[in-house]
């Protein structure tokens, strides 16, 4: 009896060990010898298989997947792309782990704002010399996007798109409120008037149930909007010229912050403690929302939601809006064949950025696409296109994830939460966050 037990148990142990060995014995380049029989059938031995990390997150990531499939079916480069779908925060932590263990992907999506940090950590390949070989040239791109792919005088990424903030508005609610949907608000006065018209008690129970604007109290969007307002003041910046100290604790910074607080507490055109403005916009609870082009993807899925876009109103001296850019970067795999394959794939994505724009909403950065009639036909994209020349990135710094983080303890989240939840006066919040940022920049 006992012997039998021991036999079964040792079999169990043995099988376990075998299983774990089998999985760990797989070669590092397991992608080449994938045990997925279908994939093997599609990939003849001489094809170069590369791994692509798609980190743009739901829901737009499905569009990139479509492009990957299209490339795999049609490319003449003899390349097969194996896609791994991640979200941004997983991508940024996983890339460090995988780079350290020697198994990074060959190509991955990255945000312009995350570029410096990853270059600083030594993860990314310098592609300055490779770019011309694959037909990438400065004159084909929007200048700000092209420049954004450089750290110092070296280029580390292929810009894929730009996504600045703009104003979305609900056409039906505009008409109901007696506003002209053809003439969306463009100045502070027009914006306030529209927001106040849209704010009302629709069922007569004495409480407001429709608001002018949706603005969350937390996350990245509120502080991106505040930064946009700051940049709309001439000569104002978030950090000082050499990005070593906070420069936002000024009259302009205060005025912009007070304005946002007043929208909630004085004009009462934003729901207090709002959590999900995009959802509220889709439900028709808020008439306007400020967001990037990515929101279109969700908005388009709502039956009966008729909306339009307009450039971010000019609240102060000049046009300006926060923007970030999706790019393609190449972790240093030290394998020239796969690097070449990755560049070919990048060039396919860049050439097909119109599909990306049409389906995911993000603005193209290639001038040929921007000037194409197909792009000009995309009505809702035009508001974002107008903003492109005045789009501002975050200042480029190496500890971007600390300073411009979107976590509860990140400085600018603290700034907006303290203000929009009325826990501090705007001036107190600015002072507090100025010292936090200076502390982080000093590290």
């Amino acid at each position: 009896m006992l012997k039998k037990y021991r036999f079964i148990a040792s079999l169990l142990v043995l099988s376990l060990v075998l299983v774990s060995c089998a999985s760990s014995a797989e070669p590092v380049e397991s992608v080449d010898s994938s045990d997925d029989s279908e994939a093997v059938a599609e990939v003849p031995a001489e094809k170069t298989t590369i791994v692509f990390w798609n980190g743009v997150g739901a829901p737009e990531n499905v569009v990139l997947t479509e492009l990957v499939n299209e490339y795999n079916e049609t490319n003449q480069d003899n390349v097969y792309v194996e896609e791994v779908i991640l979200d941004w925060s997983t991508l940024y932590s996983k890339i460090l782990l995988d780079f350290e263990t020697g198994t990074p992907p060959d190509i991955m999506t990255i945000q312009q704002s995350g570029l410096f940090q990853n270059v600083d950590l030594g993860v990314l390949t310098d592609i300055t010399d490779l770019m011309p070989e694959y037909g990438f040239a400065k004159e084909d791109f929007i200048e700000s996007a092209w420049n954004g792919s450089f750290i110092g005088d070296k280029q580390y990424a292929v810009p894929l798109d730009l996504h600045p903030l703009a104003l979305y508005y609900n056409v039906g609610l505009f008409e109901e409120a007696g506003l002209d949907p053809e003439n969306p608000p463009a100045t502070m006065e027009e914006f306030l008037a529209a927001a106040q018209e849209l704010t009302k008690d629709t069922n007569g129970d004495g409480t407001t149930d429709q608001y002018g604007l949706g603005l969350a109290y937390s996350g990245g969007l509120p502080f991106r909007l505040w930064m946009s307002l700051l940049w709309q003041h001439e000569g104002e910046e978030i950090l000082s010229g050499d990005n070593t100290a906070a420069a936002f604790n000024t009259e302009a910074g205060l005025e912009s912050l007070e304005f946002l607080r007043d929208l909630v507490y004085t004009y009462k055109v934003i729901p207090e403690q709002e959590q999900s403005p995009d959802d509220d916009f889709m439900k028709g609870i808020v008439g306007m929302v400020i967001s990037g082009p990515w929101s279109q993807f969700d908005f388009n899925t709502v039956d009966g939601l008729e909306y339009a876009t307009a450039p971010l109103p000019v609240f102060y001296d000049q046009e300006a809006a926060w923007a970030d850019s999706h790019m393609l970067a190449f972790p240093d795999t030290k394998d020239e064949t796969r690097m070449a394959a990755a560049m070919s794939f990048a060039s396919f994505l860049s050439d097909n950025s119109l599909t990306w724009t049409q389906k995911a909403g993000h603005l193209p950065v290639k001038l040929s696409v921007l000037e194409s009639t197909e792009f000009k036909d995309l009505e809702k994209a035009q508001a974002f296109a107008v903003t492109l020349p005045n789009a501002h990135y975050y200042p480029s710094i190496k500890n971007e994830s600390l300073v411009f983080g979107r976590d509860s303890n990140s400085p600018f989240v603290v700034l907006m939460e303290s203000t929009l939840l009325n826990a501090m006066t705007p001036q107190e919040a600015l002072n507090e966050v100025e010292s936090m940022v200076n502390e982080l920049l000093g590290q």
């Binding site: 207090e272 403690q273 959590q275 994830s401 976590d407 509860s408 936090m436």
Partner: protein
Amino acid sequence: MFGKKRINFGSAGWFLLPYFLIYFVFFFLPAISIVPMSFTEWSIIGTPKFIGLENYTSIFSDRYFVKTLSNTFIYTILVTVILTVFGLLLAILLNQKLRGRGIARTIVIMPYVISSAVAGILWRWMFERNFGIINTYLQQIGLPFVGWLSDPNIALYSIVIMNIWWSVGFNTVTFLAAIQGIPEELYQAAQVDGASPFQSFLYITIPQLKPIILYVTILCAANSFQMFDEAYVMTQGGPLGSTTTLVYKSYTEAFKSFRLGYSAALSVITCAIIIIITLVQMKANKRNDT
């Protein structure tokens, strides 16, 4: 424990071996390695740099550490006390010979079957301040909106509520099993001696359940001290850091800020506190025994 039946220990050992191998390689070794890691500065990339106690000193001077610590303690104490008391009461109730007892038992354990992340998302929607179902009902009976997850003074308690709904069933089932294990004769004898139901509860049920109560409180305290999923899903540690717990902070420090050493030091502190809490609980239990 195994002394008398040495033979069985042999075969049990073999069956346990796979578990302990996995435990050792994937849990114990990584867990122990955070101790040396906590004395270094490391961003995953490159070699960790030894910096002595610097991580610990900077944790104690961090402007949010005290708040994080107090959040964690408030949460742990509330969850442990409420879950234990409430779980016990529910177990006693469900032990009565009532109609529909089977259904009631199923309903109580049901939430625990779903994952905490799903429960968190569910409650995030219900707690939504302006348009969530809870506030909608409150409004209908004339009460003002409550910022369940958006008011820094309330958010932590909302997570406590969610957690109790989600996990009270587990404690209830544990207590129920233990209650059913108490010999019926004890109650019969007490009845003969003229004890009231409340006296029976106080002098029979409670003493008999003592080991289980200890088990439940230790488990609750250790689990809730490591609260992460709920905060991650429902509030992301906010608003204003009011739901940031030690483990949540360890996570953001490691995987958002890439300060592995700092995060490891936080984990060491968390671990030390859990060990102390557990020892105190066991000691208190022993003292009651004598």
